[in-house]
């Protein structure tokens, strides 16, 4: 969020000229009939995608020749301006291509083709889903022509339809980069940057996978793996104090105190207990202790005794330990 995002509503101003022009005068609007197919010795394919009940629907007509080439195409649309413009551009991108090639056209290709200049998006983020429908209807038409399901054209589960980001990619970047927030996922992959339906339930469209859930699941898996690895290292004595969990740290400090420090203190009628352990974030580990018995109020508790305890812990566990008597 920044200054430029604070004033909403200028949605149509963010459309490229090409989007506006194609909304006003779509160039490939219309229908194709069996008669057209017969005249051109081609096969007629009609595909519907979306639903009027959802506010967006498109019907695609293809004439495909014997070489699988789309020789003519038209569309009809129940949708907003961007849906109409995207459908129109989608037709243009299909024309002259083999069906097997056309099926590779994505919504990103449609949106890029609608840009006035390469660096400025043709539509605002929340309108990207309109171009996705253009992509989906091509798959539907290709499926009808090739006798396949729409899913057969997807190798992977797509989480963000707008940016075409797969589930496996999202999981991978979370792991590789130790990502902790949805914003970080968006920065790394663009997933969730456009219509935001995939971020969490309640957006534009219902989705099967949401970034918040994926992040939570992967982070849970990562934590479990880390603990498992930690336990294995701990068992084999390879675990450094710094990498221990808090419970392990408390146990390690207690063990060292029991074995090395406490007997020394008790000889003089004193004792101590650990109150808290904190990672300071600047590389230090602060251990808060409370003196008991004769140590409490002893003149060397803040000097010699403290230095001795700190030295023992530093030598045995970690050189960055600081002991803080309270």
């Amino acid at each position: 969020m920044a200054k430029n995002d604070l004033i909403g509503g200028a949605l149509w101003d963010a459309y490229s000229k090409k989007v506006s022009e194609r909304m006003d005068n779509p160039t490939h609007l219309g229908v194709l009939t069996q008669e057209d197919a017969k005249t051109k010795n081609a096969k007629l394919i009609i595909a519907d995608y979306g639903a009027e009940a959802c506010g967006d629907a498109v019907r695609l007509y293809w004439l495909v020749d014997d070489n699988d080439v789309i020789i003519d195409a038209r569309f009809k649309s129940f949708g907003c301006g961007t849906a109409i413009a995207s459908s129109d551009m989608m037709i243009e991108l299909c024309l002259g291509k083999k069906v097997q090639e056309a099926v590779k056209i994505t919504n990103l290709d449609v949106e890029h083709a609608l840009r006035d200049d390469p660096d400025t998006p043709a539509v605002p983020g929340q309108k990207m889903h309109c171009s996705v429908m253009a992509y989906d209807v091509i798959k539907k038409a290709a499926g009808i022509y090739l006798g396949k399901d729409i899913q057969d054209f997807e190798d992977e589960i797509i989480v963000c339809e707008c940016a075409r980001v797969s589930l496996s990619t999202i999981k991978e970047v979370i792991r590789l980069n130790d990502l902790k927030s949805v914003e970080e996922i968006t920065n790394y992959t663009k997933a969730g940057a456009f219509c935001k339906s995939c971020v969490r339930p309640g957006g534009h469209e219902k989705r099967e996978h949401y970034l918040v859930d994926i992040l939570k699941d992967v982070r849970t898996e990562m934590e479990a793996e880390k603990l498992k690895e930690n336990a294995q290292k701990s068992a084999s004595g390879e675990l450094s104090f710094k990498d221990m969990t808090m419970v392990q740290k408390v146990k390690a400090v207690d063990k060292t105190i029991d074995e090395t420090v406490r007997p020394m203190l008790m000889m003089d009628g004193g004792n101590m207990e650990i109150i808290d352990i904190k990672d300071t974030g600047d590389g230090h580990i602060d251990i808060y202790i409370r003196y008991m018995g004769a140590c409490n109020g002893c003149s060397s508790a803040a000097t010699g005794t403290l230095f001795a305890i700190e030295s023992v812990l530093q030598q045995n566990l970690d050189e960055n330990i600081r002991v803080m008597p309270i």
Partner: protein, 389 residues
């Protein structure tokens, strides 16, 4: 020069030039803080008092009641809901609020926020008439109910809710009753006493006053924890230095709106009906809700086969401003809930266009709008995959 015809008055309205004229001296000439002791402050008091009088008279509030100036109806709505939360729910006395499924987000989203704090909220579904019946409210009230919050008129359909009946039921049940009246003031008579209203929100920009100022009516004797703490403005009920010119503007706008009520009923409604009648001559065009039960300026039109936002695009190209509650750029893609409740199929619900007139619209404008609608319907139905394909 391109025409500019504004038919989106339920979103906001033009400031009446008479309102602006009355506000003008309070920017540069009489700019003192009314809370100051010196003359720069005190000389403003009569004008503020006059403005408040106009507000009180406008909604028939009694002198013992309070009308507290806020920044907008959203603030007023938030204040009532959160204030009642702190007064009745946080203290453990009660734990239930009743509202409707079709409230403005200033009420709906605030209720959902309160739910996250543990409040039980009942969202009454609207009936086939597009409103809520008093019986529905009565059946939903429990001993735990702290507040009923129901709009006076719906912003999308213009349908008027039975506020007087609901007010009587709430009074009888000893439950606080709040109504968001932003779409009622200046369109139909509003009488807080007759309707047994405890709290009523309104906003100046909906009745030809300035944007960024509103008010909350609080019935005499009722306490409400303030939303804004700070100073002693408005006797500590709402802190923040008074927005003097806007208060004066809101008062005058209220006076003019009340004065124009019969014009709304007799002239604006006829313009609206003229537009509706012309559109209804086209095949598969529908208007939502009985005219008799609607505010006089509003019509929600559905044109089968044309997605609402596409229609807005064409209207806008011709210089006409209207709106749609189900644009696919809006927060979600769900169909207009009011229309679905009334029984429209979901496709039709995505075609709804809200046209809302004001006393500044003319017959010439309406006739031009009809012409534009006819052309747009022809063009967009030709594109449509669901109409005549």
């Amino acid at each position: 020069m391109q025409k500019r015809i504004y038919l989106d008055n339920n979103a906001t309205t033009m400031v009446d030039p008479k309102v602006k004229d009355l506000m003008d001296p309070y920017f540069c000439k009489y700019y003192g803080n009314p809370n100051s002791l010196h003359k720069f402050g005190t000389e403003i008091h009569p004008a503020i008092s006059d403005a408040l009088n106009k507000l009180y008279e406008g909604i028939h509030a009694r002198n013992e009641d309070d009308i507290i100036i806020t920044s907008c109806a959203t603030e007023s709505n938030n204040w009532v809901l959160k204030g009642v939360y702190f007064d009745k729910i946080y203290t453990g006395q009660k734990n239930h609020i009743i509202t409707t499924e079709v409230e403005h987000p200033a009420v709906g989203a605030t209720c959902r926020f309160l739910e996250s704090l543990g409040v039980k909220v009942t969202y009454l579904p609207i009936n086939k008439d597009g409103t809520i019946s008093a019986k529905q409210v009565q059946e939903a009230i429990t001993p735990q109910t702290a507040l009923v919050s129901i709009m006076w008129a719906n912003n999308e359909t213009g349908l008027i809710f039975p506020i007087e009946e609901i007010g009587a039921i709430c009074k009888q049940a000893g439950v606080l009753f709040h109504t968001d009246a932003v779409q009622a003031i200046g369109k139909i008579p509003v009488d807080v006493v007759q309707a047994n209203v405890d709290f009523l929100s309104f906003s100046a920009h909906k009745f030809h006053g300035p944007k960024g100022i509103g008010a909350l009516y609080i019935r005499s004797g009722l306490e409400l924890t303030p939303l804004l703490h700070g100073g002693e403005h408005m006797r500590g009920r709402r802190s923040g230095t008074l927005n003097v010119p806007y208060i004066i503007g809101m008062g005058e706008a209220m006076r003019l709106a009340v004065e124009a009520l019969s014009y709304e009923q007799n002239v604006v409604s006829k313009l609206r009906d003229r537009l509706e009648d012309a559109l209804l001559k086209i095949d598969d065009v529908f208007v939502i809700g009985d005219r008799k039960h609607r505010v006089p300026n509003t019509t929600l039109v559905s044109v089968r086969g044309i997605e609402g936002e596409a229609m807005l695009w064409d209207l806008n190209k011709a210089g006409i401003a209207a709106s749609t509650g189900s644009a696919c750029a809006s927060e979600d893609l769900e169909a207009n809930p009011v229309m679905v409740a009334i029984g429209a199929d979901k496709e039709l619900a995505h075609t709804a266009i809200r046209i809302s007139l004001s006393r500044f619209n003319t017959q010439e404008e309406i006739d031009y709008a009809v012409e534009v609608f006819y052309k747009a319907i022809q063009r967009l139905r030709n594109i449509s995959s669901s109409y005549g394909a």
